[in-house]
Structure formats: structure tokens, C-alpha cells
């Protein structure tokens, strides 16, 4: 299968987030992925440097790729993990795809923060909401700080030459923020039909797209 032609992902303007951020925040992983795929690959499949992709099932090519695994979102939508029999020789990360994906995952992460706030506000301990506890407030603040930093980096329009290493580090940072937020949800963050599932799929999509930075 020939590599899809990579177009520019729809960027934000003047430091504003890209539209995939808002779609992910308001509508979730699959609608945002679909939008990004349509814009960046024209509906094609962006196989990463290892020859893998995780996409909504309707974007999977009919031939030429092996289905490695299938996943369901909490909304019942299906994603497939694919492997090309012959990965791209160049192994070059698709920068536009990675950048759009970073904005998308940041949107999911910020939605996860909102989920945490709702959950913590309703959970009581000793007669008061968990949100009144300083340790919890500190953890929420730490996550928000990380998200703000990621947002600021992605919105830096002075960067015109993203390397896959830099984008890999950003994806790692988003993963770590999400892990911190999931810890706040306790066991509720571990349910297969809860916010933890969406976060797991977010990690999977990134894993297929880019190699983690070892020293993140």
C-alpha cells in the first residue's frame, strides 16, 4: 500500500488550538480521529514508523493490512489496530498527523480533567467532598499545569520544523498527565466502560504513531 499523501492538518491560528482539540473535547476520540484522518490523509491510513495504525474501523483499508486487534469505545464505536505487511521503509513519522493527534489527545485529556472534577465533587469522605482535600487539589493543579504547558507548546506558531522526537515527547507528556488524572478517579478510572477506556485508546493511537521518548 502506498503511503497516504500527508496534507497539512488544520492548524490553529494565532496560538489558538487546532479544531481537533475542540472536537475531541466535546465529541470524543472517534469523531476527532475521523476529522483528522479526513483532513490529513484524505481518508487514508497513517501507518507509523513501525508499520502500525489504530483507526476507526470505517477508515481501515479493505486490503493490504493485517488486523492485529479490535477495540470498542464506551460509545460502542469500533477501532482497529492494523499492521502493514511491509512497513514504510523510510520510517519517517508523519509530522502533520502527529501534531494533529497531539491536539486531539490534549482535548481528550482536558475532557478527562472535567470528568475528574465532577467525580471528585460528588465523592465524599468524612462528610466533605474530595475536592476540598489539599492533596487532591494539588494533583488537579499539577495536571492542569501540565496541560497548559502542552497547550502552549503546541500553539507556538514560531515552530515550523517539528521533529518526531519533540512530538514523541509531547505525546509522552500527555500520557503522563492522563495517568495522573486517572489516579484521581480510583477504581472508577479502571473500568472498561469508563473514562479509563478512552484514555487507554488514546495511548494506543499514539503508540502506533510515534516511538516514546526513553528519557521523558
Amino acid at each position: 500500500m502506498t503511503a497516504p499523501r500527508i496534507n497539512e492538518a488544520r492548524p490553529g491560528t494565532g496560538g489558538e488550538p487546532s479544531p481537533y482539540h475542540g472536537i475531541a473535547y466535546h465529541e470524543g476520540l472517534v469523531p476527532a480521529l475521523a476529522s483528522l484522518l479526513r483532513d490529513v490523509t484524505g481518508g487514508g491510513t497513517p501507518f507509523g514508523p513501525g508499520g502500525h495504525a489504530v483507526v476507526p474501523v470505517r477508515f481501515a483499508p479493505r486490503t493490504g493490512a493485517i488486523v492485529v486487534a479490535r477495540y470498542r469505545t464506551v460509545d460502542g464505536e469500533e477501532l482497529v489496530a492494523l499492521r502493514q505487511p511491509e512497513p514504510e521503509v523510510s520510517g519517517v513519522a508523519h509530522v502533520a498527523w502527529l501534531l494533529g493527534l497531539a491536539w486531539l489527545r490534549l482535548g481528550l485529556s482536558e475532557a478527562l480533567l472535567e470528568t475528574c472534577l465532577r467525580h471528585l465533587g460528588q465523592r465524599m469522605s468524612g462528610g466533605t467532598s474530595l475536592l476540598t482535600q489539599q492533596l487532591v487539589r494539588g494533583d488537579v493543579a499539577d495536571s492542569a499545569i501540565e496541560q497548559l504547558e502542552v497547550h502552549a507548546v503546541l500553539a507556538d506558531t514560531s515552530v515550523d520544523d517539528w521533529g518526531s522526537g519533540a512530538l514523541g515527547a509531547i505525546h509522552d507528556q500527555i500520557t503522563r498527565v492522563d495517568r495522573g488524572l486517572l489516579r484521581l478517579l480510583g477504581a472508577a478510572g479502571y473500568l472498561g466502560d469508563g473514562p479509563g477506556q478512552m484514555t487507554y485508546l488514546s495511548e494506543l493511537v499514539a503508540c502506533a504513531a510515534v516511538a516514546p521518548e526513553l528519557d521523558s
Binding site: 507509523g48 514508523p49 513501525g50 508499520g51 502500525h52 492485529v68 486487534a69 489496530a81 499492521r83 513519522a93 465523592r123 465524599m124 469522605s125 468524612g126 462528610g127 482535600q133 492533596l135 487532591v136 494533583d139 509522552d172 500520557t175 503522563r176 495517568r179 486517572l182 489516579r183 480510583g186 477504581a187 478510572g189 479502571y190 473500568l191 472498561g192 466502560d193 479509563g196 477506556q197 487507554y200 495511548e203 494506543l204 503508540c207 502506533a208 504513531a209 510515534v210 516511538a211 516514546p212 521518548e213 526513553l214 528519557d215 521523558s216
Partner: protein, 400 residues
């Protein structure tokens, strides 16, 4: 540094062989948790099925070269659990045996209750459960809703000839093995007031008991469940701790129990971290300099947390009322499990979770130990209380 004596080294060596048996089945069990019943003959499962039964009630403990192992010593458990969890933490959690319920019976049960419980577990591989956490209140004892209705109500509703202690009504959540268990311990409000929390023994065959497994991201074989007690009749002889002061029946007992268990949970997290570390060492024979540095760092972290876990096990054996070091170990080990499993993926590049499903499983399982027996923040608060009370005894060499 805590070094293992000959007796424990022998057990560790045996447990490493068990881990090899377990590793073969890990992924298949993750896909199909009900396959667990096919694995009860595995040597590690047989050990766990009767581990933590006190010597008085355990006629046939594991014996190696004349050494007997009951699994009641926290360091013994930490050694075994680290090895087993390095292969499959879910299988450790899913194993039949007395587990937390057995510890509760040991703490609170009278002789008759202990004999009844341990005899049941010894007859055949028997799953048990321990139910504390509730859907809306977590482990907040003050807000506990599950309750044992008074006996007069129970007799009127059931028409039983024997006088039950009451009817158990309520819901618990995230209860491991509940849908495959035969019996278990339920913490409930058994009387009004701040000292009203107690524990009762329940058989899952009782009318009104139901359990439904929940879909989980990882540790799928462990089958965390929603449990409903719909007016389950509880006989007086199944109420634990009736002969103990009320101050020792409720959350005091729960704290003692969790302190005893916590080094084992820390060992599970350590095992997951070590499993991921071992996977990298086995599957990446040639490393770049930066990769080798990173792997060496991981190895040092695993070693350090192992020492902390063993220190905690020794401390809990000495004084089960002091959970400071156990909380430190649990917090540290769980964080290491997440960091190590993410770091391990980094050695295999893009697509690692798809090409190395065992690493994906380690990474999913690592998140599951974080909320068991208290989240990281709860452990941090316990450590703080211990520091304040001077119980950490961090620097005995500075004493004058």
C-alpha cells in the same frame, strides 16, 4: 539491606519455577478470564489456595527440604508474590484461597468460625471475597450503607426457625473474585453509632446474594465485581468479632487487616515492574548507550523498591498496628509499576503495545494496583501520620 535466609531463598527459587508455569497462560487468561478454573492444578495456584491459613488449622503446608511455609509471614508472602506477579499479577489476584477474608477471620473469628472457614478452604480450591468498598462512598466507613437489619425484622421476613442475627442489605463494588467465590467476609453496619461497623461471614449460595463482574482495563482474571446483598439472612454464629470489644470489631480491624495485606500488594506492584524490566532484558539483547543507562536505572529502581517492600514486610510482622512503612512501600511500588511499564514500552518503538502484547498487559495491569487497599494519596496520609507519630524510625543511628 534485607537479605533472604536459606529458607526464604529456597521458597524464592520454587516461586521462580511457578512464575515460569504462570507466564505461559498469562495472555490467554487475560483474554478469557473464565479459563482460570482450568489452571487450579498449577503449583502456584495450589500454594495460594491454602496460603495464609494459620498453622493450627493447616495440616499440609508447602514443605521444601523440611522447611514449612504457611504464607502467614508477610516477608514470605512478599517473596512469593513478587515472583508470581512478575509473570501474571492477575492470576495471583484471581487465585482461590483465604486471601483477605482469611486474614479477617484470623483477626476477628472465634475458634469455631476459624475452623469452619479454613476447613472449607482446605477441602478443595475455594474462592473467597472480602467486601468493604461501596459504590457511592468508597471505603469511607462513616458513610457505609450496607447494613445488617435487626433480627426481629429478619424473622418476620424469613420465617426462619433458627434465630438469624439479621438480614444483610446493601451493595459493594470492586470486590475481587465475588462471582466465583463460595464464601466471604462483608463489612457492614451492624449497630448504630460510630462503633457500629462489624463483619459477617456470608456464603454466596445464600438467597439474596448476587455478584456481577465488571469490565476492567486490566487484571481481568481477578474479576472485580458489583455485589448485591438483598436481605441475605445471616446467622448469629456468622457474625465475626462478637466476643471482642466493639472498638476492635470495625474499622480498627479493617486497618489491621489492610496493614497486614499491604506489603503483599506492594509486592504485586513490584512484580509487575520487574516483569516489564525482565521482558526488556530478555527481548532487547543489544542496546544503545542511552538505552542501557535507562535500563540500568530501571534495575536500580526495582532493587530499591524491593528492599522497601521487604522492610515493610518485616515491620508489619513485628507490629501490625503500624502501617507506615507498608504504606510507603505500596505508594512507591505502585508508582514504579506504572513508570517501569511505560518505560519498557519505550525500548520497542512505535507500535510496541501491538507487537508486544505482554508489555501492553503489564502496562494495563500496573494501573490496577494503584487503587487497591488505598490510593497513593491515602498511603501518603498514612505515612505522614506515621512521621508525625515518630513511628517511621527512619534514623535510629541518630538516637542519643
Amino acid at each position: 539491606m534485607i537479605e533472604l535466609d536459606e529458607r526464604l531463598r529456597m521458597l524464592q527459587s520454587e516461586a521462580r519455577g511457578w512464575a515460569d508455569e504462570m507466564r505461559v497462560h498469562a495472555l490467554a487468561l487475560d483474554r478469557t478470564p473464565d479459563r482460570l478454573r482450568e489452571l487450579t492444578d498449577l503449583a502456584p495456584m495450589a500454594f495460594l489456595a491454602t496460603a495464609m491459613i494459620p498453622p493450627r488449622y493447616h495440616p499440609r503446608p508447602l514443605t521444601l527440604s523440611g522447611h514449612r511455609y504457611y504464607g502467614t509471614d508477610p516477608l514470605e508472602r512478599a517473596v512469593v508474590i513478587e515472583e508470581a506477579a512478575s509473570a501474571d499479577c492477575a492470576m495471583v489476584l484471581a487465585a482461590p484461597g483465604p486471601s483477605l477474608a482469611g486474614v479477617a477471620v484470623d483477626l476477628l473469628g472465634d475458634d469455631e468460625q476459624k475452623a469452619w472457614f479454613y476447613d472449607r478452604v482446605l477441602q478443595r480450591p475455594t474462592w473467597t471475597f472480602f467486601a468493604l468498598t461501596e459504590p457511592d462512598h468508597g471505603s469511607d466507613a462513616a458513610a457505609m450503607e450496607t447494613a445488617l437489619l435487626p433480627a426481629s425484622d429478619a424473622m418476620a421476613r424469613t420465617g426462619a426457625d433458627a434465630a438469624p442475627a439479621g438480614l444483610l442489605r446493601g451493595r459493594k463494588r470492586y470486590i475481587g473474585n465475588a462471582d466465583r467465590a463460595a464464601l466471604g467476609v462483608v463489612m457492614a453496619r451492624i449497630r448504630p453509632g460510630p462503633l457500629g461497623i462489624g463483619s459477617v461471614l456470608v456464603e454466596t449460595s445464600a438467597a439474596g446474594f448476587s455478584a456481577r463482574s465488571l469490565p476492567m482495563i486490566g487484571l481481568r482474571a481477578a474479576k472485580f465485581c458489583d455485589v448485591v446483598f438483598d436481605d441475605v439472612a445471616v446467622e448469629q454464629k456468622r457474625v465475626l468479632g462478637a466476643g471482642l470489644p466493639r472498638t476492635r470489631q470495625g474499622m480498627w480491624a479493617a486497618v489491621q487487616l489492610l496493614n497486614r495485606i499491604r506489603p503483599g500488594v506492594a509486592a504485586m506492584a513490584l512484580g509487575i515492574a520487574r516483569g516489564a524490566y525482565d521482558y526488556v532484558r530478555t527481548n532487547r539483547r543489544t542496546l544503545k548507550a542511552t538505552e542501557q543507562e535507562r535500563l540500568d536505572w530501571l534495575g536500580r529502581r526495582v532493587h530499591a523498591v524491593r528492599q522497601l517492600v521487604r522492610t515493610a514486610a518485616v515491620a508489619v510482622a513485628r507490629d501490625p498496628s503500624d502501617g507506615t512503612t507498608a504504606s510507603a512501600a505500596k505508594a512507591r511500588a505502585c508508582r514504579l509499576a506504572e513508570e517501569a511499564t511505560l518505560a519498557a514500552l519505550g525500548f520497542f518503538g512505535a507500535g510496541a503495545r501491538l507487537e508486544h502484547p505482554m508489555l501492553d498487559k503489564y502496562a494495563r495491569d500496573a494501573r490496577g494496583v494503584e487503587f487497591m487497599e488505598g490510593t497513593e494519596n491515602i498511603q501518603r496520609l498514612t505515612v505522614f501520620q506515621g512521621v508525625l507519630a515518630g513511628r517511621s524510625k527512619r534514623r535510629p543511628h541518630l538516637a542519643r
